[in-house]
């Protein structure tokens, strides 16, 4: 499976944020999306998730035999940096609701408690209202909902910022274990995190996507190259 974006552009009034995005993402990899503040990372995600209407361009999923099909809502899981969960439900109720309405699309469903276990959410927290969950727990809940349905594409918008070190490490492990059979695109400002977790580094600048080849660079040289590429924007 491939996820192909072609000539995607998006502008707000006269400001062109995404100029001409052309990229092919491949299954089984975690892509680290880097870009400076205001480069348009969140805009790109919002466009892919169809929260924003694009001005131009297209994106679709291409299977092994090269057949293209439109991306539907179920293909995408989108995890935001500030986790949002329906405050009036308990963790268990949210999960039950989600599994109820997606019963057809969830393959090999597990029991609700098994899902909680997989996220290391404590038994005593499972029946608390989500409004009383801590930031980290809300984040786990959001991640859990997004991965149960096993989306083909997982978009993560700085999901590990503001998590404590233990939860962040758990999340990293989880993402590594999930990368098979899907495309994970991970936006972050933390270069070391991107280098540690991601298989490919993709830069968003000048409103375009471009991959940074690692080839035979060591990690210091690779870092320098990324910074240089991003800095170049200032002089452009």
């Amino acid at each position: 499976m491939k996820f192909v974006i072609e000539h995607l552009s998006k502008s707000f009034e006269k400001k062109q944020v995404l100029r001409d995005i052309n990229f092919t993402f491949e299954e089984g990899k975690i892509y680290g999306l880097l870009g400076r503040n205001g480069a348009g990372k969140t805009t790109l995600f919002n466009c892919l998730n169809r929260d924003l209407k694009v001005n131009n361009g297209n994106f679709y999923i291409e299977d092994e035999s090269g057949v293209r099909r439109e991306v539907v809502a179920n293909d995408i899981g989108y995890v935001l940096s500030t986790p949002t969960v329906p405050e009036f439900l308990t963790g268990r109720e949210f999960l039950k609701f989600f599994m109820d309405i997606n019963e057809k699309s969830i393959q090999n469903p597990k029991s609700i408690d098994a899902y909680f276990d997989s996220m290391s959410i404590d038994p005593e927290d499972r029946d608390k209202l989500l409004k009383d969950y801590s930031h980290g727990m809300k984040n786990k809940m959001q991640m859990l909902i997004n991965i149960i349905a096993q989306p083909n594409i997982l978009l993560l918008d700085e999901p590990l910022t503001s998590l404590d070190v233990v939860v962040a490490e758990e999340m990293k492990q989880l993402l590594r274990s999930l990368k098979r059979d899907r495309i994970t695109i991970f936006s972050t400002h933390i270069l070391d995190l991107a280098l540690d977790l991601c298989d490919e580094i993709v830069l968003l600048h000048h409103g375009e996507l471009e991959v940074v080849e690692k080839t035979d660079l060591d990690s210091k040289e690779f870092k320098d190259r990324i910074i240089a590429a991003l800095r170049e924007e200032e002089n452009a």
Binding site: E13, K14, K15, N46, N49, R50, D51, L52, A73, N74, I76, G77, Y78, L80, T84, V85, P86, E87, F88, L89, E93, K96, F97, F98, D100, I101, N102, D127, L129, K131, I145, N146, A149, P151
Partner: protein, 525 residues
Amino acid sequence: MHKTLRISFSLKNTYRVNGILFSLKQIPLLKRLLPAALYKAKGLKIFANIVSVLWEVVSAFLGKFLYFVTMVCGVGILYKELPENAVFLHILLILTVIGSFMNTHLFNPTKDKYYAMILMKMDAREYTLVNYFYSILKGAIGFLPFTILFGMDRGVPLWFCLLLPLCIAGMKLTYAAITLWDYEKRGFGYNENKLSKHVWGCIALLLGVAYVPPAFGFVLPAVVPMGIFLACIPLGMASITRLTTFRDYYAINKELLAGLTNQMDSTARAQLVKQVNEKKISTDTSITSSRKGFEYLNELFVKRHKRILWNSTKKISYVCVFLIAAVLVGIYLLPEGKPAINEIVMTWLPYFVFIMYAINRGTNFTQALFMNCDHSLLTYSFYKQPSFILRLFQIRLREIMKINAVPALVIGGGLALILFATGGTENPLNYVVLIVSILCMSLFFSIHYLTIYYLLQPYNAGTELKGGTYRIVLAATYAACFALMQLRMPIMIFGIMTIVFCVVYSIVASILVYRLAPKTFRLRT
């Protein structure tokens, strides 16, 4: 000093001008025409500047004019038997006392103070004093033409009319000095927008003293207010020393403006609204649901928001029952009022559009829906599948219709009962139309609010209200209902019009929602 005044002016002006430009940008059609670099555009800036300066001048006089026309002289006309000058001075004196602590400028938490002293770190003492004396001066100048105009008209000597603005300023200065002294003694910060119960009691008492005794033929002889007013001039002058030697202006302002931070920052304000809404969620752990899927979600939502949905609709219904019973008892006790009430019920149906508007829970429902449910679920793609959006729309519509229908049935039934008790009507169909049309009004508002919520979803991910069109539709709804209040029409005609309108509206709304909601029901970005 001169520089401080200039800076505070240009600061106030800048945010006023930007405020004007910002509101222009909120108007849906105008928004497209205005350039993105709006705040840089010279022409618009000049226009907004003119508006802003005009406002500064107009506001100095307009308020004072209205004050004299209504509160002082307008009410004064009622006391015909008493000497005009005494009534004028009596009322003016008491109102000035009230004004001296309700309208202080010094203890009014305003944005310009926040910008200047807290954000821009201007010298608090200098900024406060310069602006305070400016406002006192502006007030005195604003008063002058009207003390002369209205004072002489009421037989107050010219020399005193000329001194009156100074007397009023003196009283304000005196009160300010006393408050500062009190602050030094007790450390208690005064805020004119957060008055205590005692202060409100004092205001009520003073208003009573101003207006009640003249109604019974008692008024202070003119010399008394004149004496008190004149005494305020030396007192005020002495207070100026107190004000200028006071040192803790920064501390006072810091305390005064503390509450403003939340209002200033739109994200913080939105956060606050969000928290308020979260508090509405019932924490009762016995609440469960045995349903499935969306019905499960809906049932839990309604049960956990019972307080703002069902409980309030019940309260409204009880009040309606009580009022209807009161009218029925009234009719029983005063049978001669029957024809008048019968006439009212027969022709005042349009009035009830406004009442149904006022008691509708639609906006509370949609706000809670967004804040506590959709705000988060809309970030999940599964939730945005067209079939799911429509399914949930149906369930929610059913729910809000049920909630609103209870008081509607009470009011409709009650009106029919009143109509019957006051002598009835020749055409029995009137009863049916009455009940059905009131119910239709309630259904209309239920559909209306939910439809515009689904079509114009006005909030962004930070729970800020962003949609200009949504606000305009809400305002237009209010205006239309308000206008209908003035209309008198027989039940039959207006009732049938209402029913037809409601049916047509529901059909159109359903079509629009089915066509558009899957695209429009999104978080704003």
